[in-house]
Amino acid sequence: MADRLFALCALIAGGIYTFVAFAVIKAPFQYDPLGPETWPQVLAIVFLFCSLYILASPDHIRLTLARSVWLRLLLLVLMLGGYAELYEPLGFVVSTTLFCSLFSIMLGAKRLHAIAFGCTTGIIGYGICDFLLGLNLPEGLLAPLL
């Protein structure tokens, strides 16, 4: 069932890819006989063939995850999204502290431990990456201090 659903989505996405390959991509002038559109056309056909095959004979895969697991995965994705959104505005230290604390609380750490873990990761992580390794990380809120 899950496989069929996936194949259906793949057919739709592959259909769009195919349409673009055959109807949209055009070079105003080109030096080689194939041009920019032939290769995507070949790939599109292989992809559609694979999708149709899976639609016709799907594997039996059961995607039964408990509701609590789904909930946590959703939370995880939201947290990752928030981390990405706040990475530059808040800076590495603050956003990492927040993210690590919340993430480890979600995975069952005690609050105090989680906050200690978050602060350590944020501060030591920045120290190692910025001062020791010379990597470029956003300073954000703490820019005046760093």
Partner: protein
Amino acid sequence: MTEVLSGLSGGFSVALMPLNLLLVLIGCFAGTLIGALPGIGPINGVAILLPIAYSLGLPPESALILLAGIYYGAEYGGRISSILLNVPGDAGAVMTTLDGNPMAKRGEAGRALSISAIASFVGGTVAVILISLFGPLLAKFALTFTPADYVALMVFAFASLSSLVGKNQVKTLMGATIGLMLATVGIDANTGVPRYTGGVPDILAGFDFLVVVIGFFGMAELIHLVEQQVSGKLKLLPIGKSFVSWKDLMLIRWTILRSSIIGFVIGVLPGVGASVASAVTYGTEMRMAGKDREKFGTGDPRGLAAPEAGNNAAAGGAMVPMLTLGIPGSGTTAILLGALMLFNVTPGPMMFEQRPEIAWGLIASMYIGNLALLVINLPLVGLFARMLTIPQKYLSPLIAVLAFIGVYSVVGNPFDLFLIIGFGIFGWILRKLEFSLAPIILGFVLGHLFEDNLRRALSISRGDWSILISSWESIGLYLMAALIVVLPVVVSYRNRMRA
């Protein structure tokens, strides 16, 4: 032969420079640590650490030496979580659990760990000796390849990939196609026409290699780990005092040698890596054991030594097509290949002549690395085993933090942070549907090479497609591709008829 020796001596002069020597040791050590973490395999370790290694500003040969050290270090460390926890770090370590974990349950974990360390060492060393002997020869042969031959080689690579990797061949092929399709996004280099960019300026230059790698092998793995963490507890077995004995070594010596050679050959096949090698070597030893075969799976040293020698030899073997043809031999070498391209080094047959410090430096560093791994693994195995006790609740956030640091410090664009999350979710769904992710990265890395060679070949022939089958090399490769796809089908059909 003199060529090999002079190449090697040049390589050792690169690998023995203090910086590079230090990097080999750091790579091996960090790799073993990462490999020992439950659920994280070599490919994830290399993926997560690649951008950091890149942004350190090392010269290309040093960065590659570091990454390769992490690669075979992790291949080495993977056995620790397989034996003590019964949790393989990646597909290549699955076979190790079959006999390794029963031994640990009997209280012989120390014996199992030391046997596997020696098997891994021999496997890795045999592989690197064979690389030094055959790599330059293959590179010389590959110099004669025309664009049309490269197209044939690519077809062969994808044929062997879809025939031997994963449960469902169509899904493997589809995964590779997804990778190839992802590579078509961005401005076409030959004509300047944008393809599949949807008008988003951030992807006009195409998806960044690092973003795709971190998405599929960092974030997808993270989501998978969190999902696993919620369900079930893991039980760590104690190491104890037992150690490998002379009798053990005598029992397994031929097993190790056979498995090393088989593993190397499988590793050389483009696209097929450690997971296939460990399965094949285990199966071979079981068949050769005759009456003893019932002992396999209950903690037989041979069943432990075979896959360990096999997968380490395959990890080395997979370097051969990468160094000589520019075609990766496994998912992880696909990432190393991408790393070389980040440094503007074109991997391929010219590398042995034009950039000998990279090709030979890497090979020489592998000799040193293998020895270092054996030396740090026998006494320090207890320390590495402690890695298994790091609670997942702290480990998982660190993976995300490392992935973000990596992507941001190299690309410096917050848009890419969202892209890796997107690829991560997509990769996790694919994994749930029993897709193997390695073909995607192979497809992505080879996408431009494949298309460029096809277009170049047809430019040479002015649009005549028959150029693709105009040389013996390419015809041979197409025949081999057909054989490798058809043979397993025929064999399984015959087995079914007999049953």
